[in-house]
């Protein structure tokens, strides 16, 4: 059993253990398993460490598709198809994987005061579902077989539905169903692609084999280093196999009478855009966030949203590079609209948590914009923004949660002077919100500026790149506007009597917040050492792969 | 764009056709329905002539068909107007919804 399998299924093991321990011990077990997963996942650093100039090639390979800790075994053997259990990790999945284990651990810790929640029934179920959710998330980031990916994707969906729907706020059922329906709509589109991809990869391979003759059939078509003799779900094979790729990209390959690659790209895009989320399919997010309990909001913001971005980078671009070129403008517009619209909506919110939720929409818009322009800096920035947002936004949600635990409401205008009441909490809140604001020296800045510069850098390719970059840059003013206004209304001002008795952040709360604060600062100061060294190798290779494929287009 | 082809004419005919159908669907005035029918017939005519011109030039079949369509349309119009007038005489209206005396 490889390390990845161990890591992915360790939480399941934890869930099983949770079944059998006494109720009082459940949370201890869950936290222990989440911690164990996190600590073990740190061992992956060994693989990627030292990603400087000299060792780049050894770690990331010379072309897109080099994986580490590969585990593959046939899972389902059909007459002429194979579903593999295929795990592997590269620079794209690795930081998100670590992020997931970390946030899951912190969120688990944030659930520690479960017995003081309004709905505190079913602690066992809660933690079991939580651990299952973690398995689903981890699996998504390491599965390299589309089928497996889809399975993990759905595995993650269901616990989330229950976690929101059972332990959420007053409108939890509405929010949960909304979340579920939206995500399911995306999944359905993905399913269409899943099926299509199999058939459309089968056709060229079969053709190639018949061209090769009996000999070819005997040995199978030789792709990169895997023998395949029929269609495949292998994400790497789909992206790098020249026969499949040229068939996908060909103009004559039609799907429902439309060109294959753009259609597939669009279907996947809608699926992932719902997850990201982009305007106008973002409306599930505020509801889900507002209703979900704090730890689940952390997971939702910290990890689930990243799956959209991860999906773009793992599926859309490498496999349908021509689609990216085709839809670049559309994607960029959606991204920019998300940035501005999200910021504006955030500005008008009166609910603390909703404001943070809309700020997520705005921030993820940068991810989409960076990816859409397909430049090196854009990709890097988008990836960084995902990680940075994965740190800052759970932090913000937890900050909201801490105050909600005390005040039992989230009306921004009813707060005030909290920095005086709770100085330690106030200081951490300042760090968290300034990281979200994109203050230089904190993590949010790097992603934004990289994306902006990357967008601007696409000026040669796209005439619209410059206006987009400038409008997006205007977003930073709006962001500053709503964050500062928020800080002013909640943390500054005179101390209020009704909150005077509030205790400062407890040791546990501080412990949850500190790692995120430290990471927010560290990522802002050492972007290279914290993120770029692990991601850029893969991203650059992927971009080269995409550019190659686009250039090869007739 | 600048070379006018078959598709262009067919598109015009399609619009005529749909307009005709729509007119027939939405008018309660018997004469209005008749007008819709005329539109549909005309769209058929345009189609026929266009096919004649582009698919089999010099073969005049399409044109002859169109000619028959016109003839039949004229005949139909004459009959239909007659029916309308009769309807009006009997019911003092041309609202087709009123003409439901045969309904069970």
């Amino acid at each position: 059993m490889g390390i990845l399998t161990l890591l992915v299924f360790l939480p399941v093991l934890g869930a099983v253990v949770c079944l059998f321990v006494p109720k009082q011990q459940v949370r201890t077990v869950a936290v222990a398993f989440a911690l164990a997963t996190f600590v073990l996942s740190l061992s992956l650093f060994g693989t990627f460490f030292g990603g400087g100039e000299d060792s780049t090639e050894a770690i990331f390979g010379t072309q897109y598709g080099k994986l580490h800790h590969v585990e593959r075994a046939t899972w389902i053997e059909g007459k002429n198809f194979t579903v593999e259990y295929f795990l592997g990790i590269d620079g794209l999945g690795f930081p998100l994987f670590i992020l997931t284990t970390l946030i899951a651990f912190l969120a688990c810790l944030a659930s520690w005061n479960f017995d003081r929640w309004k709905i505190n029934k079913g602690v066992r179920a809660y933690f079991i579902l939580f651990l299952l959710l973690e398995t689903g998330m981890l699996g998504v980031f390491v599965s390299m077989d589309f089928f497996l990916f889809y399975v993990f994707w759905e595995v993650m969906l269901l616990p989330m539905y229950f976690l929101i729907g059972v332990w959420g706020g007053s409108r939890r059922e509405y929010a949960a169903i909304k979340f579920f329906l939206f995500t399911l709509a995306g999944s359905v589109l993905m399913l269409v692609v899943l099926v299509a991809m199999y058939f459309y990869s089968d056709a060229p391979i079969t053709a190639e084999m018949s061209r090769l003759g009996t000999e070819g059939i005997a040995s199978g078509y030789r792709g990169e280093d895997v023998l395949i003799s029929h269609g495949t779900f292998d994400l790497i094979e789909l992206a790098t196999n020249p026969v499949i790729q040229s068939y996908f990209a060909a103009k004559s390959t039609l799907f429902l009478g439309l060109k294959f690659a753009p259609v597939m790209f669009m279907l996947l895009f809608i699926g992932f855009a719902i997850k990201l989320p982009c305007v106008p399919v973002h409306t599930w997010l505020p509801d889900a966030h507002v209703e979900a309990p704090t730890p689940i909001s952390m997971i939702l913001a910290g990890v689930l949203l990243k799956m959209g971005g991860y999906g773009f980078l793992r599926l859309c671009y490498p496999i349908f590079p021509t689609g990216g070129e085709r839809w670049a403008f559309f994607l960029a517009v959606v991204g920019v609209v998300s940035i501005i619209y999200g910021a504006l909506c955030a500005m008008a919110q009166t609910d603390f948590k909703k404001l943070v939720a809309y700020s997520s929409v705005s921030h993820m818009g940068y991810v989409l914009l960076g990816i859409a322009v397909m430049t090196q800096a854009g990709f890097q920035g988008a990836m960084f923004q995902m990680i940075a947002h994965g740190i800052s936004s759970p932090m913000c949600f937890y900050l909201v949660g801490v105050i909600y635990d005390r005040a039992h409401h989230r009306e921004i205008d009813r707060f005030g002077g909290l920095w005086l009441t709770m100085p330690r909490y106030g200081t951490l809140a300042t760090i968290g919100f300034f990281a979200s604001l994109g203050l230089p020296g904190l993590c949010g800045f790097i992603g934004e500026i990289w994306v902006l510069l990357g967008t601007f850098g696409a000026r040669d390719k796209y005439v619209w790149a410059v206006p987009m970059a400038i409008i997006a840059a205007g977003g930073v003013i709006l962001t500053a506007g709503y964050i500062l206004w928020l800080i002013r209304r909640v943390y500054l001002g005179q101390e209020r009597e009704e909150y005077a008795g509030f205790s400062d952040a407890s040791a546990r709360e501080t412990f949850v917040l500190i790692p995120m604060a430290v990471l927010a600062i560290a990522m802002g100061i050492f972007p290279m050492q914290t993120v770029f060294n692990y991601t850029n190798g893969t991203l650059d290779l992927m971009l080269a792969h995409v550019a190659n494929a686009t250039a090869m287009m007739p | 764009m600048l070379t006018i082809g078959l598709t262009h004419y067919l598109l015009v005919a399609a619009v005529l056709f749909c307009s005709g159908i729509f007119t027939m669907m939405t008018k309660r005035n018997a004469i209005g329905i008749l007008i819709g029918v005329e539109l549909v017939l005309n769209s058929a005519g345009v189609n026929l002539v266009a096919f004649d011109r582009y698919l089999g030039p010099g073969r005049v079949d399409g044109q002859i068909m169109a000619l028959f369509v016109i003839v039949l349309a004229a005949a139909e119009a004459a009959l239909a107007v007659g029916i309308c007038i009769n309807l009006y005489k009997n019911l003092a209206t041309v609202d087709v919804d009123t003409a439901a005396t045969l309904r069970g």
């Binding site: 009478g257 008008a348 300034f434 230089p440 500026i449 840059a473 003013i477 | 159908i21 087709v96």
Partner: protein
């Protein structure tokens, strides 16, 4: 030639010290108690940098030009990150400008930190009754770190990071008394206004990064110069880069937009018109903060930025800068006249002085502007500290109308303030070489502006009229305004005067010459200058052609700019004298305030030190370093300066009528102020009533706040609310509708299946068939149009199905038809 990194290490340590101080104070500030935290910040946070800065300054002064150039050249660069494939490095930009600025910031900050201990010793550190003593010093330390980092940064990106951090400190410190609503509002206003400027900065950064391919200041400048050279050689060549770009906006080329974009950052930070609105409000912060951040250092960062990116500026961009600077300096000086709050009055004077610096930069008076920056830092910091002393002494009374006669109670403050007034008014005895810092620096800016405005005019006049007369009768023979141009970076190490002497100078007296001047290649075969380069011009004695400066391709400075600056030179002494007189002289107007007034040593020691600095800064400290820095920092651009040294005689003699006109402006201003305020406020009230609407306009600051509030703040919130409504009621509604429809469908199927499937097969079948019959019968309306509707709908559905299922077959039918139809 030395390649040791000693200086860089020392400067880096100097940045690190306040950072350490910041973290210690944040984490353990509570344990340091009240004065301890302050002393810790003073000694570690700014004492260490000051010592290091002094060491560096002394060491640097000992290096000769070649060694300095080598040190600049070989400075270490830390590979910070990759932006795309471009490495982003950070490091210490080691040159004379950095050394001078670093020292200036360190010494002013040190004195103000010191002052803060005194200021905070009372109850000034309390916010809503809780002491935030260590937090205040933590912020100050963070500010020290970011400001020093900004000064030494070698990369535009890192400069931008520090830039934002000083903005953050400004925000935090303005809103330090965050229990007061107006203070936190002022903080937000400052931050957001700065962000608006930074928006332009980011656009500039994007252009620099994309067009010049780097964010390193030196590399960017070199590339820029190279591209311009290529452009002059062949306007269409690929190497011309940014200059060859056909893009224009409002008639500005891309290169100009880049310059203006970068300048937008400076407009925000240096509070230039129309982004000046935040600075007066920023006075809500503690007074040492106003002195340090909003007078001496941070607001000057904008000027510093322009100085740093001067090599990336085109003539058009410089013209833009000059106009903005000039508007600021005039408009804000006028507002200062009517202010009654002592800090607001100083704030508007700061705005005006910053306008002077920016105006100087725009004119090409690089040296003079920075010189003014350093002198201004001293005297304005001192003035603010004095006002802090007054405010603290008078129990937080800031209204000057309630003061008066304080000279008895606080003599040290009174007279140091007076020195500041003299300095800001540009007091000096013309012709003798005796004067305060402001005297030299301001006059130099005016001298350059004069040259830009009238030197050119003279040239043009001569061209057209063909004779040698000056429209304004300036004593031409005495004009010694030197035009110092640095041509190439390989000459960067030269002293200004050497460069000057080494220049080939030629007369430009006729049409052909002017024509030739516009040709890309200069006669002596040197590399052509960048667009802002001047043709170095004739010296009257040598060539008999008068003084003129031609910036290549740039029109002369509009004369009104110069005249506005001169006019303001008269306004400044007036309002400063007014402030001083109202505060310290005359009779006490408020018994309560007067009774409490006192001063303490912790606060006036720094005042004395700063006043010493004010008196001597003009002579000793910075001018030589800045002139030296000019060589490197403006290698490819243009610098106009009076003689590279501080020969007051030369300056005064050079200015001729200008000196008679402006040299004693301070006396005129003083006299008017004295005349009006000598006997209290009655005269002023009379004048105010007489002024009517004019007074209202000034008093309301030209209604900028009202307009901005209405247009931007209210507008933005309105748009935000609309967005929220759309989000809640439109976007969501669509999805809710879809969900509702599906649910109804589900209900329907549930109804049919549950009630009629579960109730029993027979019953169910019977009922279902009945229902079915009903369902089937219901469309049988007997109306033709309904039948038609169904028919068409079915046809359409079938058509769509055919399309989706097997379009291939449909088109193959067509293809088959092709074969059958001859």
């Amino acid at each position: 030639m030395t390649t040791s990194h000693t200086y860089e290490i020392l400067l880096a340590l100097g940045i690190l010290a306040p950072m350490i101080s910041f973290w210690v104070l944040v984490l353990f500030g509570r344990y340091l108690r009240k004065p301890g935290a302050g002393w810790f910040a003073v000694l570690l946070g700014m004492g260490v940098p000051l010592v290091l800065a002094t060491v560096v300054l002394i060491g640097w002064s000992g290096e000769d030009a070649a060694a300095r150039a080598a040190l600049t050249e070989n400075a270490y660069r830390f590979h910070w990150a990759n932006l795309g494939a471009v490495p982003v490095t950070i490091g210490v930009k080691l040159d004379s400008l950095t050394v001078a600025m670093f020292f200036m910031v360190a010494i002013v900050s040190f004195l103000i930190f010191f002052f803060s201990i005194g200021y905070m010793s009372g109850h000034s550190d309390e916010v809503d009754g809780k002491s935030l003593y260590s937090r205040f010093f933590a912020y100050l330390s963070l500010f020290g770190f970011s400001m020093l980092g900004l000064v030494v940064s070698s990369s535009l990106l890192f400069l931008f990071i520090c830039w934002e951090l000083v903005g953050l400190c400004s925000y935090l410190l303005i809103g330090f008394y965050f229990d007061r609503a107006y203070a936190s509002a002022a903080g937000i206003k400052a931050f957001i206004t700065n962000r608006v400027g930074d928006f332009g900065f980011i656009v500039g950064l994007m252009l620099v990064f994309f067009q010049l391919g780097t964010l390193d200041l030196d590399q960017a400048a070199a590339t820029f110069a190279g591209q311009h050279a290529a452009f002059l050689a062949d306007p269409t060549s690929a190497a011309a880069g940014i200059f060859a770009d056909p893009f224009t906006l409002f008639g500005w080329s891309l290169a100009t937009i880049m310059g203006i974009g970068l300048f937008c950052g400076a407009m925000g930070k240096s509070a230039q018109f129309p982004l000046h609105v935040w600075l007066p409000d920023a006075m809500a912060g503690p007074t040492p903060v106003s002195a340090l951040i909003h007078a001496a250092t941070m607001v000057a960062a904008g000027v510093y930025l322009v100085a740093r990116v001067f090599r990336l500026m085109t003539p058009e961009a410089l013209m833009f800068i000059a106009v903005i600077g000039c508007l600021t300096l005039t408009l804000m000086a006028l507002v200062a006249i009517v202010q009654v709050d002592i800090k607001k009055c100083l704030a508007y004077s700061t705005l005006s002085q910053l306008g002077y610096m920016i105006f100087g930069m725009g004119c090409g008076a690089w040296i003079a502007a920075l010189f003014h920056l350093t002198t201004h830092a001293f005297f304005k910091a001192m003035l603010f500290l004095c006002s802090g002393q007054v405010i603290e002494g008078c129990h937080h009374e800031q209204d000057m109308r309630k003061m008066g006669g304080l000279y008895k109670k606080m003599p040290v403050t009174c007279w140091t303030f007076f020195i500041g007034v003299l300095a800001i008014s540009g007091a000096g005895i013309a012709g003798t070489g005796i004067g305060l810092g402001g005297f030299f620096s301001k006059d130099e800016i005016l001298a350059v502006a004069y040259t830009r405005a009238y030197g050119w005019e003279y040239e043009k006049h001569q061209e057209s009229a063909g004779h040698d007369s000056h429209a304004l009768g300036a004593p031409r023979s005495k004009t010694e305004v030197r035009l110092v141009a640095f041509q190439d970076s390989d000459q960067a190490g030269h002293r200004p005067d050497q460069t000057h002497d080494g220049q080939r100078v030629e007369p430009a007296g006729n049409e052909d010459q002017v024509q030739r001047d516009r040709q890309p290649i200069l006669e002596d075969g040197k590399e052509p200058l960048h667009a802002g380069a001047i043709r170095l011009l004739q010296h009257p004695e040598e060539h008999g052609a008068g003084t003129a400066a031609i910036f290549r391709g740039i029109p002369p400075l509009p004369k009104w700019l110069f005249w506005l600056a001169v006019f303001t030179a008269y306004v400044t002494p007036f309002y400063m004298m007014r402030a001083w007189w109202m505060t310290f002289m005359g009779k006490p107007r408020d018994e309560h305030v007067y009774k409490h007034a006192h001063e303490i040593w912790l606060m006036y020691v720094p005042l004395i030190a700063l006043s010493v600095g004010t008196v001597f800064s003009g002579y000793l400290l910075f001018r030589p370093l800045i002139s030296d820095g000019a060589a490197a920092a403006t290698a490819a651009a243009t610098v106009l300066a009076t003689d590279g040294h501080m020969h007051t005689e030369a300056i005064n003699a050079a200015h001729g009528w200008l000196f008679w006109g402006v040299g004693f402006a301070f006396l005129v201003g003083f006299a008017i102020a004295f005349a009006i305020y000598r006997k209290g406020l009655e005269t002023a009230d009379k004048i105010r009533r007489g002024a009517g609407i004019l007074y209202v306009i000034l008093e309301r600051k030209y209604f900028f706040d009202e307009v901005y509030n209405f247009v931007w703040v209210k507008g933005c919130i309105l748009v935000a609310k609309i967005s929220r409504l759309i989000d809640t009621y439109v976007v969501d509604l669509l999805f809710d509708l879809a969900a509702f429809t599906i649910r109804r469908l589900a209900d329907f199927s549930g109804w049919v299946l549950d009630n009629h499937g579960v109730d029993g097969v027979f019953n169910g079948v019977a009922k279902t068939s009945q229902d079915f019959a009903g369902v089937v019968r219901s469309p049988q309306t007997g109306r033709i149009r309904n039948y038609l509707l169904f028919a068409a709908a079915v046809a359409t559905v079938v058509l769509i199905c055919v399309l989706l299922a097997g379009w291939e077959s449909v088109s193959s039918v067509a293809r088959a038809a092709e074969t059958t139809i001859p």
